[in-house]
Point group: C2
Chain length 240, copies 2
DNA sequence: AAATATTACTTGTACGTACAAGTTGGAATG
DNA sequence: CATTCCAACTTGTACGTACAAGTAATATTT
């Protein structure tokens, strides 16, 4: 199992090997990786190299290191600076329900997207789906999502892992979120949005336009979100 | 000049030494640090150690490394995930003007702060100041700021470096922003806010509550911002 | 004079070694 | 039996060496 292309950049090869095993659940969340010396013996490398690989996984948020114990696999994405509804994905305080209101289908790019599409994206059709997030039975976030059909292909919305598109990307396609750009606006709700969020037309809502960059070259995810923040504010935290 | 407390954690000592020289402008922004071998000779260490130190400075956003050239000092805080008005601090597209509307003074904590204060903060008085950010002559952001008097002391708002509180902390007090937590809400403008932002009462504005964590133990900065996003949206980006 | 090659730098990767520091479970002790 | 101690693990720090890869200015060649 060990010998693939170990030419140069050994640490990258090993980093990607470990990453893949984490993504596919062979190193489950909460478990400890084999020790550094284990990896050294297995792959015929030195600790310098495996430590470099683990350091990258640490930076990317796949593991944490505990001196004297080992390297523990963690759930990625919490420490990622993503905007989340207070409670969502923390999911302790509130009951969150995700409803697909428009199943994924092939469509044309919506001009509402305020980011500049790449040439490849403009030439390609896109996949679109719409979701609503409910908290305690009340709709709070209306989500429109797009991505380039050519870059990924159509993923059926009823195949989402735990109802999460990001988890689906990670577990089934080994694609990770690498970053995002966002624009935030406060504006009055349109009739359409007000209807879907069950609020009054003209009530202030938070409009978020976001572009997620992924580890797959050429694949970006575009989002257009409408949030009713009157009960549940949007949260965002980042560190170091 | 080299021998201070080199007992253990040499790389931390050297990291902090370099960091301090960056903060105080002895390694100016845009310049290149001495080469790794230079540092090795100067401090009597090996490249392993200096590289570890530089790696931390890289993670913290003080430098970037360029193979074959060297380590370049960069302006920190851009890659920091902070919410910024589109254009602010990029400051290329728009003319941004910061006006202190309430000079810093000793005050009591405002109950509007939605974060839990530490015991030390509750026992201490606080320093408060208010600012307005203008873009092209139009007020766009109204800012209320607090921090614990005991943790830092009163900094006069007319001593701010470039009008920036963060720059003042870094250059004059060697304190850096380590992270933040934010809550975002869309709501109608109150009379007071509407007046200061020169908009209609009830117009939708973006309300941001933020707690910045700093490198100085016990010091947090609390912000309460009201943004008129009708012309200039708020931006936020983070990577890896 | 222009294109090419060399040289002297820089950072990047990887080898190997040694010991410090933290954790854990079992052996020795009381 | 409870406590202490120790041995065997883990990761953390630091030493030293070697060569690869990228950059830029200089020397050489054309």
């Amino acid at each position: 199992m060990g010998d693939k292309k170990l030419e140069k950049h050994k640490y990258r090869t090993i980093r990607d090997y470990i990453k893949k095993r984490i993504q596919t659940g062979k190193y489950p969340i909460g478990s400890y990786l084999p020790s550094e010396n284990d990896f050294c013996n297995r792959f015929g490398i030195t600790r310098t190299t495996i430590r470099k690989a683990l350091d990258e996984l640490l930076k990317e948020g796949f593991i944490v290191k505990e001196q004297g114990k080992g390297s523990k696999v963690i759930e990625r994405g919490k420490s990622l600076g993503l905007l989340t509804v207070k409670g969502i994905s923390g999911s302790i305080d509130y009951e969150v329900e995700t409803i697909v209101t428009e199943p994924s289908r092939i469509a044309r790019w919506d001009p509402i997207i305020p980011f500049t599409l790449t040439n490849e994206e403009q030439k390609s059709q896109c996949v679109y789906f719409q979701r609503v997030r409910n908290i305690n039975g009340h709709p709070v976030v209306l989500e429109n999502n797009w991505y380039s059909l050519n870059a990924l292909g159509l993923i059926e919305s009823d195949e989402f892992v735990d109802g999460s598109f990001f988890k689906t990307l990670s577990r089934k396609h080994l694609i990770e979120i690498m970053g995002a750009e966002q624009e935030l606006r406060s504006k009055p709700a349109s009739i359409d949005v007000a209807k879907k969020l069950n609020i009054l037309e003209g009530a202030p809502i938070l409009h978020i336009s976001v572009r997620f960059r992924t580890s797959k070259p050429g694949l970006n995810l575009y989002g257009d979100l409408y949030c009713d923040t009157s009960e549940y504010p949007i949260r965002n935290s980042y560190f170091l």
